[in-house]
């Protein structure tokens, strides 16, 4: 494996390791961005109004049982194409539930007395949402986005099965060629990427969460 990793030829070029990492990150962030755009407003709405909580909780639980590989294959067969679109659909379907569930959980965990106090101070519903509920619920919201990221980054590996690039290429091509060092390289890089992204979100959480919430 070291020979593979330390050979500079393997790092550069269109099919080099850097290019694969960039592709992998592109799938990950495209899917993550879309998941956030869809799930965050719905989660905030459910958390703020407390209507539809049943949906948020059960969707989060049920999604854990969904096999990602099967989801991807269904997306490929239903869209009748191989490529970015089915992968995006499958990854977004994986990303939505954890974000939705934890956004709801974050908002519903806000003490009712705190919201009452905010209302008593004359805050409107929108102000309560943006100035009280979101800041207090932020740690959980971020942890939901964090687990969605982990799900997506590891599942993006499977994109290679349907002819896309990304780090999964090493796994899929290596398997076909029985080229073990190549498979191992791919697996290791995906793992490192996952750990790096996880650390990134831990950092974001530390910076973004209000210092007032950290005292306890």
């Amino acid at each position: 494996m070291w020979e593979y990793l330390t050979d500079s030829f393997n790092w550069s070029g269109n099919e080099g390791i850097w290019a694969r990492i960039v592709e992998h990150l592109w799938y990950t962030f495209a899917a993550l961005g879309l998941s956030v755009v869809i799930a965050l407003p719905i989660g905030l709405r459910i958390g703020h109004t407390r209507r539809g909580a049943f949906l948020a909780i059960n969707l989060g639980n049920a999604a854990r049982a969904l096999p990602s590989l099967g989801l991807l294959m269904i997306a490929v067969l239903l869209t009748d194409q191989i490529g970015f679109l089915p992968v995006l659909i499958a990854l977004v379907a994986l990303g939505i539930p954890p974000i939705l569930a934890s956004t709801y959980a974050g908002l519903s965990g806000v003490d009712a007395a705190t919201i009452d106090a905010a209302r008593g101070m004359g805050m409107t519903g929108r102000e309560i949402l943006t100035k009280v509920e979101i800041p207090i619920g932020l740690p959980l919201i971020i942890s939901g986005i964090r687990s969605a990221t982990l799900q997506i980054v590891s599942t993006a590996t499977i994109a290679a099965l349907v002819s896309l690039g990304g780090l999964g290429r090493y796994v899929v091509d290596g398997l076909k060629l029985r080229d073990f060092p190549q498979m191992f390289t791919g697996a290791l890089l995906v793992a490192l990427l996952a750990i790096a992204l996880d650390a990134l979100f831990a950092l974001i959480g530390r910076i973004a969460v209000s210092p007032g919430l950290k005292i306890s």
């Binding site: 049920a62 969904l66 990602s68 590989l69 269904i74 590891s154 498979m183 996952a194 996880d198």
Partner: protein, 218 residues
Amino acid sequence: MTWIGDNLGLIWEQLREHLYLAIVPVILGLIISVPLGYVATRYSWLANPLIAFGGVLYSLPSIALFIVIPAVLGTKVLSTVNIIVALTIYTVSLLIRNVIDGLRSVPPDVRQSAIAVGYGALHRVVAVDLPIAVPVIFTGLRVVTVANISMVSVGAVIGIGGLGELFTLGFQKDFLTPVVVGVVLSLALALVADLILVTLQRILTPWARVATPVGEVA
């Protein structure tokens, strides 16, 4: 629909393999995490590093583990042992937190009462501490069981994946039915396993059902 009828044997076989690959790691993981969690509550400086390490392990993509494990263990790439070891690692890395939290949730006065009435260390852990920790441990057990069941199918990428093999089969033949059958059975398996765990928890914690005394508002 005729495909299902013609391939019942195959479907049944993959379902059995899927169940085996998902459940064995849960049992192994439980057997490992309970003593490990107990040790971590005895020597409490161990607890936080263990939980943190578990968090990192759990963040590793399953496909990566399935491939890296044979290199570490020297097993064949197509051996089911790889899947079982990988999922056992996930189980322990998630469950360790719940075991530690569960054992910590035992009230000190309960523990002291047990010692006072003459329970030995091992007897106390088995008869007092663990039963009290059951609800917290089972929360983790349910999450990890469901996650394992869905993760097994990723193994199909490297050729062993229970129902996941129906996914690759359907993909190769450009044929939706096997994929849908695989997804539905995988979901059903997760649901049934979850129900069994909920039932088991109720049986193991009979006091939880009478926790609210008659006449008192919950």
